[in-house]
Amino acid sequence: MIRSEILREIAPILRDQLVVCNIGIPSQELHAIDDQPSNFYMLGTMGLASSIGLGLALAQPKPVVVIDGDGSVLTNLGTLPTIANNVADNYILMIIDNGSYGSTGDQPTYTGKKTSLAGIARAAGCENVVEVQDVDTGKALQDALDSGKMTVLVVKCDSGNAKMPLITMDPVVIRDRFMTEVAR
């Protein structure tokens, strides 16, 4: 499965959560598949989805699901020790690990070679690290939400992008409607 097929499958689960979605094609795909005011789309700033989601989870009690990518986590690896040492049990970091920089033309990342993000997360001190194959994403995400434990979920899948339109919504509108959902 490629990322967009996974997102389509888990959209019914994501719909009821606060979602922070990674820059580029992941946000375009989620926006096209199931736009919700409870989705925070990153339009820039590669790498910070996991950090934004952690700040959000620490600040308020609702569950937060971060949809991140292997390339973006690699660019902000310092995030994993911060996550491990600031436990928020309403926080799920779901890394769609397709072994490539999808938004820039599917150049390979090191996670498709020797590097294991699950291994790095465990070494960083994250206590609940789950690695699954694409077909098992829905069950693993639901299990993580039901567990009430901070979870890092690494989803191994194929590289590839669906052709989706750009997000043209104003960033302040994205942020404002998201904050309204947070406060609801």
Binding site: T45, L48, S50, L54, T82, I174
Partner: protein, 168 residues
């Protein structure tokens, strides 16, 4: 006046309850004070752009954030300031140790000091420079201004303000 306590008191009085830090020797006292305060969740970050992401999330979650860092971090965070904090219009007080100014003992620090104000000006970031200890009296108003305007705001604090670096 205990300057570390005064700064922390102003943060708390302005409802700031989420503070991320990347250390600097000049900031050691204020970081320790923040770490000891029950009203503030102190979350050290490994890099300043990561810290700004944490602050963005905390603010959307209903908390008032602040970041404490060194001016060298301006070089690290320009993209994050422009494409996250400014693009989505978020408030962010940045208490910045202004290394490389008068009474600085480390020559390399001067190399970023000479770019610091120019970069902040280029980014249209409101910038205040604390050089004498009494300048801290402005902090309360600067914090109010930050959350009124929904902008990142820089507070540069140099070695003279902190009572000298290395010769204190």
């Amino acid at each position: 006046m205990n300057i570390d306590k005064k700064i922390t008191d102003d943060l708390v009085a302005n409802g700031i309850s989420f503070v991320t830090t990347v250390p600097c020797k000049q900031l050691a006292g204020v970081i320790e004070e923040i770490d000891n305060r029950d009203e503030i969740y102190h979350i050290p970050s490994n890099k300043e752009d990561e810290g700004m992401g944490l602050c963005a999330g905390a603010w959307m979650g209903g908390k008032r954030p602040a970041i404490i860092m060194q001016n060298t971090a301006i070089g690290v965070t320009i993209n994050t300031l422009a494409t996250l904090i400014q693009f989505y219009r978020m408030p962010l007080p940045m208490l910045i140790s202004y290394r490389g100014e008068l009474r600085e003992p480390v020559a390399c620090q001067v190399e970023m000091a000479v770019h610091t104000k120019a970069l902040l000006t280029q980014l249209n970031i409101p910038t205040y420079h604390f050089h004498h200890q009494q300048d801290v009296e402005e902090l309360d108003n600067i914090l109010k201004y930050t959350f009124m305007s929904n902008k990142p705001v820089a507070i540069l604090t140099d070695a003279n303000f902190w009572g000298g670096y290395g010769d204190q």
